[in-house]
Amino acid sequence: MFSRILIANRGEIALRIIRACHELGIEAVVVYSEADREASYLDIADEAVCIGPASPAKSYLNIPAIISAAEITDVDAIHPGYGFLAENAHFAEICNECGITFIGPDPESMRQLGDKVAAREIAKKARVPIVPGSEGEITNESEAVKIANKIGYPVIIKAAAGGGGRGMRVAHNDISLHKAFGAAKAEAEAAFKNGTLYIEKFIVEPRHVEVQVMADKSGNAIHFYERDCTIQRRHQKLIEESPCPVLDEKTREELCKSALRLVKEANYHSAATVEFLLDKDKNFYFIEVNTRIQVEHPVSELVTGQDLIKLQIKVAAGQTLDLRQRDIKHTGVAMECRINAEDPARGYAPNPGRVDKFIVPGGFGVRVDTHIYQGAIVSPYYDSMIAKLIVHQPTRQEAIATMKRALREFKIEPIKTTIPGQLAILSHNLFVKNQVDTSFIERHMG
């Protein structure tokens, strides 16, 4: 097992990983930028190294600085968390070259699954249903139109290297397709230095459902059931829950088994999330694989009682999973709200600043993951998530009740947060009745 791990990240996930390390008896080294000098988790870590100024490019994305920090602190592994360098295959390669274990998949499988076109191929090999669309990239508009007419409108154009919704366009007919194609290409080139596009059937009123998977280096893979992340705003998740409230047991088992087939086909190890779209008729279609631990992983931890970060570290150290699929039981309902320093009343505009009042909710069925404390400063340099509030109850109705009382208890002043928006969603008839799709926020919470 590792004796020292460097955490190449910040905020709540850095703290989350420190906790897992300490519970495993591993020393935790954190790197930090000058903007995070006052972060309270620096005191909890066994060592903290300043790697640069606030700007992410000069600190948390600064590979030489992070590798140097790993070398001078003599760690044997690096955990990238999520975001920043978590899905940067080049960084993973450098770690390996320097003899430092990258706590994540091999660079090859990261690249392979990171490329949506390649990922579709693997999905097909693994007999995992995919959204009908172009076989591989599309070079010109006329080809796009041909395929669009074959699979039928509406269609969606996506960047092969894309993510977070950038380079995405929906077209409902030939004319709009012509417009969309050029725009998507330009956006993709700007965002990813890669204009490769592909096209697929646009699923109407879908739910976003993803399966949590963990695979070791000996070819064992188990799943931790699904999460429903349908409540999104501009492709940013606001509320996640498990189980998916509209899935029947049979579909659910097929879904989870598909995810396992896919990661095994890719000879994948470490934590992964396999994302699907679920249409009105409960057909699911593979979209993509996230080759990292995700923000919402605690939802699956609460319903299974398994610590995913600890497992991820163990398998990275070469241990074989000591859990069989039958050991992973799903109990009750878990739900997560991401509390962001954003003002719902002002179009979710970021609202950084000093936190003068911070009273965290607690009690039965409540888990809070946060790096913020009273007196902390929410930095404008990084993403605006300041806390994750996760609840666990026997039923969905009780989970919603607990989430609402916990959100009302959560005192964060004077900065504005997403809490009022989330309270509105939790009280919305369609959410309570499970009649939402990924467009819910835009349509009903505008």
């Binding site: 000058e34 903007a35 995070d36 000098r37 006052e38 190294v49 300043c50 790697i51 640069g52 100024p53 606030a54 600190s59 030489p64 600085a65 590798i67 140097s68 920090a69 070398e71 001078i72 602190t73 320097c98 000093r354 404390y373 007196g375 902390a376 400063i377 930095s379």
Partner: protein, 151 residues
């Protein structure tokens, strides 16, 4: 109260007893230009915790390493990168900069090794080295003070 002499000790004693019996901590009686003011311990208790929390020093304050330290007027040369500090190009070679050496902006003062690369660090200021703050082979983080220079 001018008719009654406020310095009348008997009267004051009575007031003090009254205070003690009733655990008063302060008593003040004024009448026109006469005034009696008595205090017992416990009246002024320590007032602590009025200072806002230390945590509130802005995080960028420490991000201004080259600012001359007020108390001694010295300029600090700080490390621009994370790595290992070396005073000389090789164990045999002489140190780039020792205490007392004159340096200018382009003077190489040390080497910081990062990822097997030897990075020459320039003074960026001119003056006289008054202190070498790191040992040879020591690990340094971003912004760590390497030298102190008197301009």
């Amino acid at each position: 109260m001018s008719d009654k002499n406020p310095m009348d000790l008997k009267k004051v004693k009575e007031l003090i007893d009254l205070m003690k019996e009733n655990e008063l901590v302060e008593l003040e009686i004024t009448d026109g230009d006469s005034k009696v003011h008595l205090k017992r311990p416990g009246a002024n208790m320590p007032v602590m915790h009025q200072v806002p929390m230390q945590a509130m020093s802005t995080p960028t304050a420490s991000a201004v390493p080259a600012e001359p330290a007020k108390e001694d007027g010295l300029i600090k040369i700080v490390s621009p990168i994370v790595g290992t500090f070396y005073q000389a190009s090789s164990p045999e070679a002489e140190a780039y900069a020792k205490s007392g050496d004159k340096v200018d902006a382009d003077t190489v003062v040390c080497i910081i090794e990062a990822m097997k690369v030897m990075n020459e660090i320039k003074a960026e200021v001119s003056g006289t080295i008054v202190e070498v703050c790191c040992k040879d082979g020591q690990a340094v983080e971003y912004g760590q003070v390497l030298f102190k220079v008197r301009p």
